[in-house]
């Protein structure tokens, strides 16, 4: 009994502690020189996905030393991606924290939508970055994120397009339409699957857009009627063919790494990637055979950008902005554009760059097994509103898995 009373006493004391949050820092009126001065000598905590050794090397070997040398900023890169990041920032807000543990974060996909939902981002700040003058805001896949205008709340960092990856020996002629895919899987059962995660949902979104009539068909706000109409066709397509999918469609892999490995081992004929340059990276790392190649469906695939965001509660927004500005500089964008470094598409409008940088970009080592961006640009589809992905993920379980 006494333990229960002591326990309750502690609960009530703990529940009472509720410090009011500080007003977050607002640097919107500061000029760039002042921001650089504020950032000088500071530490910036950057949270990003660290699962790719090439990206890690780019950050550790190039970015970290460069921002130290040029701006005297110590950049500390921490692990955290997508949902984990959202959960962390959400918890900080819910618990009235006065400062965030993160100053700059890599935002990908629906994360921006979620962070806007909980008002966790600082901004607008992009216009204050000197290098933002080079960003290709004319490209809707850069200016908008999941159909939402970024409005300077997140800074574009890289641009990628989803591709299908196949092996030219096993599959000399890959299917380029949904109808051809249907023929293919029936002729080659057990060789295709859809990962039940972000990239798989990106493929489904592309198919949904194709069924809805093609490019721009699902632009704008989420439309329930359109979703019902075209998702019904989508589930019908999958369900009538899933008996020919891997494991007869009774299960779907939970993560893309498994699909990559099954493809590498010849268990599957296809894998997929959100990064159109990934097949070259994977071949260089000896994960895929040199006969692997990437392509996009005739009806198109989703092209989207990844961004940098600054949490509302960051205590070093100046440092974060200086680092973000560096990451969108021609120097940094060119470095990661190189397929031997990362192969990530640039968000810069090359026509706006000084001539010497334009030449550098033109002379970057070419992709070998990945398609050139120019060749697939006309098949680039914009990300539809985030609710489409949320619904596809939920309904895939209800309509396909169960």
């Amino acid at each position: 009994m006494k333990y229960i009373l002591i326990f309750l006493l502690f609960c009530s004391v703990s529940a009472c502690k509720n410090e009011p949050a500080k007003t977050p820092q607002d640097l919107s009126k500061q000029n760039w020189t002042d921001l650089e001065k504020m950032a000088n000598g500071s530490t910036v905590q950057m949270t990003m996905w660290q699962g790719d050794p090439l990206i890690n090397r780019f950050m550790q070997d190039f970015v970290v030393p460069a921002v130290k040398k040029q701006y005297n900023i110590t950049l500390s890169v921490n692990a955290g991606q997508g949902n984990e990041l959202v959960k962390i920032l959400m918890a900080e807000k819910e618990n009235n924290q006065s400062k965030s543990g993160t100053d700059l974060c890599w935002i990908n996909g629906e994360t921006f939508f979620q962070l806007r939902q909980i008002n966790a981002l600082y901004g607008p700040f992009v216009a204050q970055l000197p290098n933002s003058q080079y960003i290709d805001f004319g490209n809707p896949t850069i200016r908008q994120d999941f159909q939402q205008e970024t409005n300077g709340m997140e800074c574009p960092w890289g641009n990628v397009q989803m591709t299908m990856i196949y092996d030219t020996v096993r599959t000399p002629v890959p299917p380029r339409t949904m109808a051809e895919l249907e023929t293919y899987v029936r002729a080659h059962p057990n060789r295709f699957t859809i990962p039940y995660e972000f990239t798989g949902m990106t493929l489904l979104k592309a198919w949904l857009i194709a069924l809805a009539g093609g490019k721009n068909a699902l632009n704008g706000d989420f439309d329930e009627a359109k979703y019902q109409q075209y998702s019904t066709q989508l589930w019908d397509f999958i369900n009538r063919n899933k008996a020919y999918f891997w494991r007869k469609g009774e299960t779907f892999p939970d993560n893309l790494a498994t699909v990559h490995q099954m493809f590498a081992n010849g268990e599957l004929d296809f894998t997929l990637s959100n990064n159109d340059g990934e097949v070259d990276n994977k071949i260089n790392q000896h994960i895929f055979a040199p006969t692997a190649k990437a392509y996009v469906f005739d009806s198109g695939t989703i092209q989207n950008s990844h961004y940098l965001g600054i949490p509302q509660l960051s205590e070093n927004k100046a440092g974060a902005m200086v680092v973000a500005n560096f990451l969108i500089s021609p120097e940094a964008q060119w470095q990661k554009f190189n397929p031997e470094v990362w192969g990530d598409g640039t968000v810069l409008d090359r026509a706006k760059l000084p001539a010497d940088w334009q030449e550098k970009f033109n002379n970057t080592p070419k992709r070998t097994n990945s398609p050139t961006r120019a060749s697939i640009q006309d098949k680039a589809l914009q990300e539809p509103a985030p609710q489409y992905m949320i619904r596809l993920f939920e309904d895939f379980r209800k309509k396909v898995l169960n």
Binding site: Q45, A79, E84, N95, G101, T102, T258, E267, Q285, I287
Partner: protein, 250 residues
């Protein structure tokens, strides 16, 4: 019979290690090859070059695991002894199961708010405390079957013969408890060493232990890096045990 058991167990348990070693040096190892087509050490070089301060992560993991295991083992040992002497020891032991009602990841999500409010989120101290809280009840439970009336009687006998508590511990309890203490240390070391849920949630990516780094590679398709990271995670516990068997307890 013993030889047969040893042979089967050795094959069963060393085979996975062999798979990891081969994967870490296989230039190409695709189906249906039983062995890699060629060997290369490039992955090891690339791993340490591109993984940024892996030594720091290894050191951090070791520091965390050794200190947490040491503290938990001693705290658990004496707490368990005290619990056994209580009238309501059954209830007190049942309480120790409470934190294990769910996996560490879910446990971490539940207690995250507490660490945020206490300013411990993203700190070494916060992760240390979180791991201590998770491992401590385990140690109490592990030791609960160790405290027999015989042990208490022998401790009492030391007191009767004029010995103090430190002598009782040094001359009686510790020698008789060596194997369980080592098992508890080992198991709680592993709880900390292998922990991902608490470190990633309470550490918010700032406390970059080896497991946090490893999980990223295992979750990606780079099987070679995943194999290397896995070997780095496995070898300290193996070494710890070998040292224990060879030099501490004959």
């Amino acid at each position: 019979m013993r030889k047969a058991i040893l042979t089967v167990l050795s094959l069963l348990f060393l085979m996975p290690i062999g798979v990891l070693i081969l994967l870490s040096v296989a230039e190409s190892w695709r189906f249906p090859m039983l062995l890699p087509q060629a060997i290369t050490f490039d992955y090891w070089k690339d791993f340490f070059r591109s993984s940024g301060n892996m030594n720091h992560s290894i050191g951090l993991s070791l520091l965390l695991a050794v200190t947490v295991a040491g503290a938990v083992t001693m705290a658990g040992f004496f707490t368990s002894k005290l619990v056994q002497k209580q009238e309501n020891k059954r209830f007190l032991l049942q309480l120790a199961y409470f934190p294990y009602s769910f996996s560490p990841v879910i446990y971490a999500f539940c207690v995250q708010f507490l660490f945020l409010r206490l300013g411990l989120s993203g700190t070494f101290a916060g992760v240390w405390i979180a791991q201590f809280l998770l491992a401590f009840p385990f140690a109490v439970l592990l030791f609960s079957s160790h405290w027999t009336p015989v042990l208490f009687d022998m401790e009492q006998m030391v007191a009767t013969l004029g010995g103090n508590r430190w002598q009782a511990f040094r001359e009686v309890l510790f020698p008789m408890s060596k194997s369980i203490l080592m098992l508890a240390f080992f198991q709680t070391f592993l709880i900390s060493w292998f922990d991902y849920g608490l470190v990633s949630v309470i550490g918010v990516g700032k406390i970059q232990t080896l497991t946090v780094r490893t999980y990223q590679f295992v979750g990606e398709s780079n099987v070679y890096f995943a194999a290397i990271a896995s070997l780095l995670i496995i070898w300290p516990p193996l070494m710890l045990w070998w040292v224990n068997r060879k030099f501490i307890f004959v």
